[in-house]
């Protein structure tokens, strides 16, 4: 049961170690820490008994603080995301092995602090603790974008990102406190625990539920981001250092989806039923809108940034169907999207380093000089367009299946994502990889060993999950169905 505590506190300890001490090789120290973390999380996975129960859980009441407790644990919904975090962070650290940051110990320390906060978000079962980790995750990523970003003086884009997400989370805080105040306001060690929250929330009046829904939904919608709340995202992704973009797109946006599954749907089920159409339509608009913008991008990086909005739109649409299939598909697709997007951003980073730019006009014909690079690009790209036998297919299939069951025409429009996704990704491949070799790219070297170390695991995982998703599905299955079945009977409220 101390595994969860270890998973949260160990990266924090590494952060202090890295920042506090002068270490000669902070990169390898950080990598070592991340690998230990990965090993422990795999150990947790092996010892995890598939079932709906919360495992490795521990409740430590915080002294003198009105019922807030350090209440953490891992269940089927947390575990895939914990694994995603622990798998991606070592890859992200490795992906920077060619780079020489100034103040590397601070950089890697912040990456690990971010990891601690993310795992905290995914494992907290106390709402205030969840909120604290939610905000804590924002600080390291903000500093990473600010100090090592490509933005010039002023930091306008990073501050826009910070304030945008902060407004969302503060509104969520109002929602959380509102739920607490409508309950009996107990002061025991479980005053803010998940189950108490579900109980209070489900007993609330419809009007109160509607209010809480909007307060909390906005926070998650900004984080994901869903259509009208997405404006911070493309700029931030392009201006952040590559590792920051990977953290943001690979792991951080999953916080929003996880939040909807864990902290929105079961807390205010009636309001979710009432507004799920709104949320679904926003998500679907996001899919189509972002795909169309991605089609006309002239830069590979912004293209991937917009494609990320489209993919996340599909995931959130699936979640808002509140069906087992939809949420299960979201769990798989979150994992797959994390892998794919980290892979893609790394590929783009390599292109930017070797070719000096990721604009399509400067690219073309890389296939001729770098076959291994092209192979990795193809597999990851196919994962992104959800070709069968890649991980993306499993998730998108389940998601679209759930949408069609919910409402055929929504499913049909959301299905466009596969077509449009294939179009913009293949066009991108065509422009960047095939065709005549651009004169500036003659010196484009193929993958080096350090690049292989990052890309090959990603490629392998994409294929393995695509061929044999069973183990990953089994982890979350019973938790998801328990969650969906625990919702009160809402059929009379569902409008045709």
């Amino acid at each position: 049961m101390y595994i969860t505590v270890f998973l949260i506190l160990f990266p924090m300890f590494m952060f202090l170690l890295l920042v506090g001490m002068r270490h000669k090789n902070p990169k390898w120290l950080a990598l070592g820490g991340a690998v230990v973390e990965l090993a422990v999380s795999i150990y947790a996975w092996i010892n995890f008994i598939p079932g709906a129960e919360r495992q490795f859980s521990i409740v430590i009441p915080m002294p003198y603080s009105f019922g807030i407790s350090f209440n953490v644990g891992i269940d089927g919904i947390s575990l895939p995301l914990v694994l995603l975090t622990t798998v991606l962070v070592p890859l992200i650290i490795l992906s920077s092995s060619d780079k020489n940051f100034n103040r590397p110990s601070l950089f890697y320390g912040l990456v690990l602090l971010m990891q601690a906060a993310l795992i905290g978000v995914f494992t907290s079962f106390d709402v205030i603790l969840f909120y604290v980790f939610w905000e804590l995750a924002l600080i390291p990523i903000y500093l990473i974008c600010l100090i090592w970003g490509r933005e010039g003086k002023g930091g306008k884009i990073t501050i826009k990102f910070f304030i945008y997400t902060l407004v969302g989370s503060l509104l969520m805080l109002v929602g959380i406190l509102f739920v607490y105040m409508t309950g009996d306001r107990p002061l025991g060690p479980n005053a803010f625990s998940l189950n108490v929250f579900y109980e209070i929330g489900q007993r609330m009046q419809p009007g109160q539920q509607r209010f809480v829904f909007w307060m909390i939904f906005v926070a998650f919608a900004i984080k994901m981001p869903i259509f009208p709340f997405h404006t911070w995202q493309p700029d931030t992704y392009t201006k952040a250092p590559t590792q920051g973009t990977m953290l943001l797109s690979g792991i951080m946006l999953k916080m929003g989806i996880y939040g909807v599954i864990r902290w929105l749907i079961p807390v205010v089920p009636f309001a979710v039923v009432q507004f799920s159409n709104v949320a679904l339509i926003l998500s679907v608009i996001g899919i189509v809108y972002a795909s169309c913008i991605a089609l006309v991008q002239k830069n590979l990086k912004t293209l991937v940034a917009y494609s990320s909005i489209a993919h996340v739109g599909l995931i959130s649409a699936g979640v808002f169907t509140r069906s087992i299939i939809g949420i299960q598909g979201a769990m798989i697709q979150m994992f797959s999207h994390g892998l794919v997007v980290v892979g893609l951003f790394y590929l783009i980073d390599i292109i930017e380093q070797k070719a000096g730019s990721a604009e399509f006009k400067d690219l073309g014909g890389i296939r001729n000089v770098a076959p291994k690079f092209t192979t990795a690009f193809v597999v990851i790209m196919l994962g992104s367009v959800a070709l069968p036998l890649t991980s993306g297919f499993i998730g998108e299939f389940l998601l679209i299946n759930s949408l069609v069951q919910y409402q055929v025409w929504i499913g049909a429009i959301a299905g466009l994502t596969i077509i449009l996704g294939a179009v913009y990704m293949l066009v991108a491949f065509q422009k960047a990889m095939s065709g005549e070799l651009q004169p500036g790219l003659a010196s484009f070297t193929d993958l080096s060993i350090s690049e292989k170390v990052v890309l090959y695991p990603v490629v392998l995982l994409i294929i393995i999950i695509g061929v044999y998703p069973g183990p990953l599905m089994a982890v979350s299955e019973s938790s998801v169905s328990a969650l969906v079945n625990s919702l009160p009977d809402l059929t009379p409220f569902i409008r045709p």
């Binding site: 002294p63 003198y64 603080s65 604290v132 924002l138 600080i139 100090i147 002023g154 501050i159």
Partner: protein
């Protein structure tokens, strides 16, 4: 009340220190004296012990004790931080003793049980401050600040006395308990001029807590005064003014709250919106901190809006907010003082002195209310207080303004990471480094382990 004697004694000792040639160790002696004053304070009181003192002029009840703890501890930190300011130039003993008299006035304002004592405490505090604000005699802006503060302050005191007189006229007493009973016994038969008195007192005290629209003096005075004195105004003086405001409006007049609570709402809304937006346009960190200090009054007043129900206002959120704000604010000012000694520019501070920059970052984040820093827990408490009065729109407004505040706080952070900024390192003495470290730990520990229960026990009486 022995506390009060001790503080006054320390003040007089500081005044005569020049004669007995104690100057070198003066700050240390004063800190020890204040610690001695704390020793006379009970850790917590129960109801029987909180008897009125000095012919019912003062009353050290639970909340007064809590406020006094806060005032004295903050002053000790302030003295530690400002030892350099006190030592530089002439008149070390005068400045030190004036500061101690500020504390004396502040403690009286936290514990008065008689309107006359409120006036006395306020004047002891203000007169000392007028002199301190002008203590940099060769600086024109310091003198301007003192003069402005004096004019505005005496104007406000005029309002306050007028209000006290009207309330006295209605209730025939200066004693808080008797005024409270008078209100309770004649809920429907209060003369109109009683309410006029209440509102005039509110105007007077709103000047002192610098709530909008009575805040216009604050930025100019804060900017002109020596930075150490500015930090004293932003912390100790603010605690005392809020304590007095709470004692008057949170307890004594709370039964009549329905008649004037709308004014408080209006002040909350204005104090949340205007300074937070004005602060964005400030170019100097010191002036930005002045506006931010005004803005924080808005959040503290949010703790008062539970008045709508005619209940006593729970002082816990207010005291905790003041504690968290004072620590963060002192930390920010201590960095500011060091930066001012080294050219006054924050740009590239991280590369010039890492720990100073880290202290500033944590302080600014705490003031912006980002968990797990102390400022978040404080905001959490006042939001809960406002939500318990069902004032959801006010809370949402407060949330939005605190997101706005992030913009101007983080501009400083961005500047500290500016790579093209000046490169000369900032050197910090050991004593200030240790102090900054204590601030850092306090800001995080107050956020994670807020010790509400202890505070509750202290206040309950």
């Amino acid at each position: 009340m022995n506390t009060l004697f001790t503080i006054a004694g320390v003040g007089i000792l500081a005044l005569i220190a020049e004669i007995v040639n104690l100057k070198r160790w003066l700050t240390l002696v004063v800190i020890l004296g204040l610690a001695g004053a704390l020793a006379f304070l009970p850790w917590y009181t129960n109801h029987a012990e909180s008897a009125p003192a000095f012919n019912a002029m003062l009353m050290f009840d639970g909340s007064a004790v809590a406020f006094t703890w806060l005032i004295v501890i903050v002053t000790v930190f302030w003295l530690w931080m400002s030892a350099g300011y006190l030592r530089q130039g002439e008149h070390q003993t005068d400045k030190t003793s004036l500061v101690i008299f500020v504390v004396l006035g502040a403690v009286i304002m936290a514990s008065f049980n008689n309107m006359a004592m409120l006036f006395l405490g306020l004047e002891i505090l203000s007169l000392s401050l007028y002199a301190l604000a002008g203590s940099k005699k060769d600086s024109l802006s310091s003198i301007e600040s003192a003069f402005k503060y004096f004019l505005m302050g005496s104007f406000a005191t005029g309002f306050l006395i007028f209000g006290i007189a009207l309330v006295y006229g209605a209730s025939h007493s200066f004693n808080l308990g008797e005024i409270f009973n008078f209100v309770k016994d004649n809920p429907d038969a209060l003369p109109a001029y009683f309410y006029a008195g209440v509102v005039l007192m509110m105007v007077g005290l709103a000047f002192k807590i610098s709530s909008v629209p009575f805040h216009f003096w604050a930025p100019d005075v804060y900017e002109g005064a020596p930075t150490a004195i500015t930090s004293l105004m932003a912390t100790v003086v603010k605690i005392a003014a809020i304590a007095a405001f709470w004692r008057i409006f949170g307890i004594i007049f709370c039964l009549t709250a329905s008649h004037w609570v709308n004014i408080v709402y209006a002040m909350v809304v204005l104090t949340l919106v205007i300074p937070n937006i004005t602060a964005i346009y400030q170019q100097k960190v010191k002036r930005m901190l002045a506006y931010s200090s005004v803005a924080h009054v808005g959040y503290i007043l949010l703790g008062f809006v539970a008045l709508a129900n005619g209940n006593f206002v729970n002082p816990l959120p207010i005291i905790f907010y003041l504690a968290a704000y004072s620590v963060s604010s002192l930390a920010a000012f201590s960095v500011l003082i060091k930066v001012e000694e080294n050219g006054g520019s924050f740009s590239g501070l991280y590369y010039r002195n890492k720990w100073l920059a880290v202290t500033m970052i944590v302080a600014l984040m705490s003031m912006a209310g980002i968990p797990p820093m102390a400022g978040f827990t404080a905001k959490y408490l006042v939001f809960i207080a406002a939500l318990s009065a069902n004032l959801v729109p006010l809370v949402i407004l407060a949330v939005i303004t605190s997101a706005i505040s992030v913009y101007y706080y983080f501009r400083v952070i961005i500047q500290m990471f500016d790579k093209d900024g000046s490169v000369e390192p900032v050197n910090v003495s050991w004593s200030i480094a240790i102090l900054n470290f204590i601030f850092l730990v306090l800001m995080i520990v107050l956020g994670i382990f807020p010790a509400f229960d202890l505070l509750m026990r202290l206040i309950q009486s």
